[in-house]
Each structure stands twice: as C-alpha cells, then as structure tokens.
Symmetry: C2
Subunit: 502 residues, 2 copies
C-alpha cells in the first residue's frame, strides 16, 4: 500500500485505499461507488475480497448498473510466498514485468484528485472524500512541520495507511528520506519489538494504542533506547493516559483532524515555557487540539446561527470550522452532502469547541454528542475526562439518555483495567463509587445518572468508540425502566460482564 501511494498517482490514476476492517458488503459498496478499475488485495484478505466481488457480481446481474468488475491483483508475502491467488495476477510478478523507463504522468492541474477516502460512516452510507494533489502535498508539508520531524525518521506504521493516507505520512516519510517499519498487527509485543529492533523515532496512533502499549505484559516489553515521538489524534487523549505513556519513553504530540481535512488540521504546538509547569497542567495543555497547521488558510470557532466568531475566553462554545487547500474537494458523486458540509466557504467539522485566550482551540464535543440536560449543554468529553481520571477505568464514553424531567441526562459506559495482582483479571468497582468520583470532580448536573460496565466499548474499524450504538442502548434502558430500577440493570450488566470473563 505504501508503494501504491506513489505508483497510482504517477500512473495518473486516483488512489482509493480501503479499510481492511470493513466487511465484504461495505467493501462491495465502496468498489461500486468508486468504480475502481484495479483492485489490489493483500493475500491475507483474499477471502474478504472474494466475497465482496461475489456481492458485486450478484448486484451486477440484478441491476446491470455496474459495468465491469475491477481487475484483481493479489499481493503475496514477498519473503515467504503463500501462493494464495484471486485470478491470475500477483503484484511482485507484475512489477517485474513493468517498464523501468516509464515516465510518470505529469500533473497538469494541481487541483486534480489524488486520493479517494471513504469515511467510516457511523450512521449512514460511507462518503467518498476527494483529496487534490495540491491539498495532499500541502498537508504533507504541514504535518512534517507541525510534528517537527527531521530528516531520516524511522517510522512505525501503527496508524493504518488507509486512514487519511496515514495522515499524509505515506508521502511525508518519503519527503523526509525516512524508513518505514510495517507490522501486520498492532499487538504490544510487535510494537515493542519493532521499536527496539529498528530504533523507531516516530509513530502515529489513536490514544487506544497507548492502552495497548501500557497493557503489555512484562515478557512483551523491550527497552526503548531513545524517545519515540507519537502523534496522536482521533480522540482527545485523557490527561492521565498522556502522563503514563510519556513516563515510559514516549513523547506525545496531540493533533486534531478528520478525513475531510486530509488528516490533522490542528496541532497542539508545544511551547517551551510550559516545560516548567506541573505534569498534570502540562497534560491538560497538551490535551487541547491546538493551533492550525501551517498550510490551513484559516480555522475558527463560530456560532453557526450568526456565523460570528465566538469570544476567545475558553468557555464560549461554537462549531469548529476550517478553510484551506488541505480541506477535501468534496464528497465523490454527492453534491448535496458536499454543499451541506461547506457553509459560507467554511468547512463545518461538526465538532463543538472553544478558543482559549492564547488562541489554542479545545474541542468540547462532537455537536451530535452534546447532552442537553435541563437546558444546560453538557460536553460528553468533559465527563469522560473525569471518568478517565479514575484509576480503575480503562475506557469511557458518555452519551445522552432520555430523561422525563430534564429532557436528556448523561449515561456513562465504561470498561475496566486489568488487575494483574489479583486472581480475577479485571478490577471491580461499583456504580456508586464512580458516581461519587464524578460528584467530586464535576458540577452536579453533569454527573452521569447511570453507569454501565462493559468488557469493551463498541468500536468501528478505526478504533473509534461507536457512540451511536451506545445511544441506542441508553435509550433501551429507559424504555425498560418500568420493569426494573437503574441499579438492578447495572447489577445485571455487571454480572453478565463477569460471566463472560469466566
């Protein structure tokens, strides 16, 4: 896939990377929508690809809308070939038959598309985000700069390349003359081994990977000889998690972005004067989303009713809006969604945030995740941050639960950390204990009315917690309320969890 990031644009074509965690139906949808001409498949995913192609063929026979199936090329393992095929062609063999004197297509228009990336689409059909050569190029430069990546980095691929083209580092590592370290699984042992063996200097990942690294068994750990720079995003890293991961040899830079912005659009640029602050305060500063990358034309937080910029007081919330070449050209074959995404020339992120006095942005929530309780806006992220401060909580997500009096009230879903010291694998904790913890750290109206324990929170292919699913669950609890008390439901949930662990 790394080679494709160069070969496909150099052939004058558009690169459409596909999330390997999608199911065959999703993949068939993407292939149909993108009208891909060639389908490169890693040998490991041949069964999935085969099924996707079968679905496509079936659909073709029914509707006759899809004119032809893509040419399939399987990429076998170069070191220990498996012989797995799907059709005739194998990648390395094809490369060997290529013309080494081929002159790459010259890009006549820098606004022509280079890549098509389908968003994960939690609630709806996936949307195809189109990047221009210009946008991808400028974003690549911005991210090298924003991360202060020097030349000859050694980059570990834990962030998938199909995720906004690896936040542009597919191109960025080449621009910096770097080395790419690829691993098939983001297991703790593989991550530690790669870091130790190749002296990894950089990696990108969602904060979820911090948990994987921190949860490594003693036997899986290896020495980290020099600090590994982590660029994280996708979710604001809880302060406690930041402190833990930095204490074992990682240096974290926090960025904020979305597929439509070619990956990170804001970076929490560190200021040297912050180095003298207490660790906890440093983590709070670092958890902010930060300032615009250099190639973004503009960023703002706007009251979307008046389209006026909010006051820079760190409190007044508004929607984060972006403008610049790095913002997508639009959604492929979807003018309506494209028009809706842009207002007054600004791209609407759907994220609700504030601007601090020093100009740094901080996200308070996804606009659809804001809980409105008795007329008060509750940022689900703020409640989650408090939950993460609890020493036994591994993951937390807070969503709106219907409430007869307040309209909505916060409902917390949490998973617990492993407890190596005891026989039982996981810590145990009561709902009352967690609610008590929240009462100590939050205004009363923001305290979850209910805490649900789960073994693992539901996530999509990009490791993002699926709040959509949790909202459905939270709604069902209230519908069953007549039968049981809240506490009974919790007890039941906890028991089910406990049983599944046996």
């Amino acid at each position: 896939m790394y080679e494709m990031h160069f070969a496909v644009p150099m052939a004058g074509a558009v690169l459409n990377t596909i999330n390997i965690r999608l199911d065959p139906k999703n993949i068939a949808t993407i292939l149909r929508h993108s009208e891909a001409k060639i389908f490169f498949v890693d040998y490991e995913f041949v069964p999935k690809a085969k099924e996707a192609l079968r679905l496509l063929m079936e659909e073709k026979n029914q509707t006759e809308q899809y004119s032809s199936l893509p040419l399939v090329i399987v990429i076998d393992d170069i070191n220990s070939p498996t012989g797995i095929r799907l059709g005739e062609l194998e990648y390395e063999q094809m490369v060997r038959h290529g013309n080494p004197n081929y002159i790459p297509e010259e890009i006549q228009d820098e606004w022509s598309p280079i890549a098509l990336n389908y968003t994960s689409g939690t609630t709806s059909e996936p949307k195809g985000v189109v990047y221009s050569h210009r946008g991808a190029y400028l974003s690549t430069l911005s991210l090298i700069l924003g991360w202060e990546m020097g030349s000859e980095p050694v980059y570990l691929w834990t962030l998938p390349m199909f995720h906004c083209n690896g936040w542009t580092f597919t191109w960025g590592i080449a621009a910096r003359g770097g080395t790419n370290i690829c691993i098939r699984n983001t297991a703790a042992s593989d991550i530690y081994r790669a870091i130790n063996l190749y002296n990894v200097t950089h990696m990108c990942c969602a904060p979820i990977i911090f948990n994987i690294i921190l949860g490594a068994k003693a036997s899986e750990k290896r020495e980290i000889k020099t600090p590994v720079n982590i660029l994280t995003g996708g979710a604001p890293p809880p302060a406690s998690l930041l402190e833990e991961i930095e204490s074992i040899g990682f240096h974290v830079t926090h960025a904020y972005g979305l597929t439509e912005a070619t990956g990170p659009a804001l970076v929490c640029e560190w200021q040297k004067q912050w180095n003298v602050l207490p660790k906890r305060e440093q983590s709070m500063l670092k958890a902010r989303q930060g300032v615009s990358v250099l190639t973004l034309a503009d960023v703002d937080v706007k009251n979307l009713k008046t389209m006026e910029s909010v006051v820079r007081d760190g409190e007044t919330m508004g929607e984060i809006v972006l403008k610049g070449s790095g913002i997508m050209m639009g959604y492929f074959k979807d003018n309506e969604a494209t028009a809706k995404a842009f207002g007054d020339g600004w791209f609407r992120t759907g994220d609700v945030g504030v601007i601090h006095k020093d100009g740094y942005l901080e996200i308070k929530d996804r606009s659809k995740d804001v809980i409105i309780s008795g007329g008060e806006n509750i940022s689900s992220v703020e409640v989650e941050n408090v939950l993460y401060m609890h020493p036994k909580i591994l993951e937390a997500a807070v969503v709106a639960m219907p409430h007869p009096k307040w309209g909505e009230s916060p409902c917390a879903f949490v998973s617990l950390k492993k407890n190596d010291a005891k026989k039982s694998d996981f810590f145990t904790v009561t709902e009352d204990e967690i609610i008590g913890h929240c009462r100590k750290n939050l205004p009363h109206f923001m305290v979850p009315k209910k805490v649900v324990f789960m073994e693992e929170l539901p996530k999509n292919g990009n490791n993002k917690i699926q709040k959509f699913e949790l909202r459905v669950k939270a709604k069902s609890f209230v519908e069953n309320k007549n039968k049981k008390t809240n506490n009974q439901v919790n007890q039941n949930n906890h028991q089910i969890l406990a049983m599944s662990r046996l």
Copy 2:
C-alpha cells in the same frame, strides 16, 4: 524591516527592500524603476536617502518622467531616539496612529506579487526580481524543512533581510514562532555577544562571515553554550573553512540559491551515514550544493546546446536549471531579460555544475567564470578550493587572464590571514610558495600562472567577490607585460599592500 515583511503585504502592497550598501545613485535608480510610493528609511541612512532623493528630483526636473517622489518615513531608534528626520513622519509615531482593528487585505490571487528584489548587478543595471505570494510562501516552508528548523528558534540576523528577504527567514521565523535577534553590525564581537546572551540557535550567512567569526580576538569571543546552526550559501564554503568553523561550535548546512529562486533552491541534505567518514571527506560532501528543496518542481543540469540532461557521473558539466513556484515571476518591466532567463520553461541559473551518482549537484563555476585554457575548461572554483587549503590564505578568487598561446590562463587574487603571533599583522608568503602548493594539488594546466596579493578582495554589497573587477585587473597586467615581468608586478603589489598596512 522585519515588520515591513508583514505590514506591506497585509496592506495589499509590494515590498521592495533596498540594499543599504548601495550608493545614492543606485538607490535613486531603484526608486525610479520600482515607482515606490512610500520610502522607509532607517535614521542611520538618512544622508544616503537624502542624496538619492535629490538625484531623483534632479532627474525629475530634467526629464519629467518620474511623476512624484515617494512619501518618506524615517525609522528612529526606538530605545534611544536620535530625532533625525527627513520630512515630517516617523515610523513609531505613525504606527501609534494606526487602526488596530484594520483587517488585512485578502490575497485574491496567490500569483500576485509580494516582493521586488533588485539583484546586485555586477556588470549591468540592477534587475528587479518579482516574487509571488505563492512562491514566497512555498519557499519559506521549504527552507524551514530543508534546514530542519524546529519551533521557537532564536535567530541571529547576520544575513541582511534585504537579501532575498533574508532567504525567506523573515517569514520563516514567524512561521516557527521564533525570536529575531538583530544587530547593526556583523562584527565578531557583536556576533559572539548576541549568541552568548540570547542562546542563538540559528543564523544564515555567506562563508565570509566564517572568517569574521574565526578572526575574532580573544577579548571578543564569548562562550557558545549550544551548537549554532548556520545555513550558508552565496559561495561554496571551502572545506578547510567548514572544518574550522564546525570545530568551535557551529553546525553548518550548505545551500545554493540565487535571488531569482527566492534564495536557496538546493540544500546539501546531510545523510547520517556520512557521520562516520573522515572530517575532510565530510567537508567535501558538505561543500556540494545538494538536492532540490521540497517545493521546487524540478532541478537539472543540462547541456544548453542540446537541452539534454548530463550524465550523473560527477564529471560531465552543464548549466544548472530550475523549475517551480519558488522561481521568480520575472524581471520587473523587463520582458527581454525575463525571456532570456527562461528557456524551455526552465530558469537558467548561469551556474555550471555536475550531478553526482547519488543525485547531489555540485557547482563547478559561474558559466562566465569558467576559464578556457588551451581548449580545456578550468573551473575557477576548483582552483580557489585548493588555494583555500593553504593555511595562510584568507580569501581567494581566480579569473581568466588573456594568454597569447593558451587563449586564457588562470590568475589568482588572494588576501592573507592575520598573524597574531608576530609583530606584523599579516602572514607573508611568496608567489612561488602558492604556485608550488597548487602544483601539488592540481593538474598542471589548472595552476594559476600568476598570483596577486591584496589586502582585501573587492566585494559588492552582498559580500560577493567582484570577479568582474578582478578580470579588468588581470587584463591590465598582460597589457603592461612588455614593461615588467610578472614577478615584478607581484612584488609591487605586495609592497603597496604592505605600505597600506602601516
């Protein structure tokens, strides 16, 4: 001038910085040609500016071609005002009357001009090089990247800001949230004091500044606590000079550029694998001009007769040609010169070089400085490099001298280092000794036929050695040949030099 780099473009105007070392006549020529509307003058240069305006007025009265004189604003010393004025307006007073709510002009077309920089013009009228917003922006990003400049640099201005807008670091230091340290004179004591006092991390300069730093008296030196990164260009730094400056706490990156390329267009990107090589070999590698900055579309070395790329063998010479957004839009009001500078869409640098096997470019000479002796091309730079290896030589320049048999032959002009150990200020050395040194290190046909000793080589406002003047001198020696032998001329020169030192 630093503030002007932001204020002028934000006002929708074009910035035309003027070299302070030019004489009033040159300045009048520039003001007339640029049609400057406002003329900002540092108090120190009021006499020069006054004379330039007088010349302009005189001309205006004679020809009535120049419609109006520019509005003059004197910039007084903010810390200790001198009261020096040229007309009514003073800069800080004007700023205080400004509107703090002024909204900067939005740039509608990124190809619109941002800056106009007059080249030093060794032989002809100065030419006005026009930069676009796009070109300046991209070059700025490239140079931060090429130099691997992190955030919050402390930058010492030894390179003047009027020189290609400080090689774009006027904008680049702001982009990196850096601190600008400005000094009025690039004297050794001021440089050392600034480095020591502000913990300077970066500075740009021509190799001539290395001599100033290395020539500091013991009393002028200050401790250099952390390595200072130097970006150098303008002339290939001789290997011996590189070694000396790096040994005292400077880390040198070598770049190559020209006004028409918005400053540096190539950077000799260092490769970690070179760190294990012997020092001398490292210096040789670093003296190469290197690879294209990231925002340059393309660079090549071409045989200008056939317009074919030369073989990448490190030997076959051709002219260095460039292409990209960072290349000037053209010469202001000079379509003929603009057309001549571009051939086949490539900008012709006028520099003759080779490409090594590893893709790094190395300049062999300015095309007009190549000496053709008995049909052999002699790179004046190659001969100069050998001269710089001599422990007593401070500066060296080699030009063509007419020769009855060979057509041309090399003539060397050198200045000598100071000898602190002896009563006499300077080292002494004979012509024979230097010719002997060249014989040991060069093919016979490349050895200078003549060595002229000077106290200081002639330089222009940008500290570039004026080979044009030296060529005139070299020609005159041959014309006087019938009267004296070469040696006698040298003796005379040396004696004149010695006298002027008394």
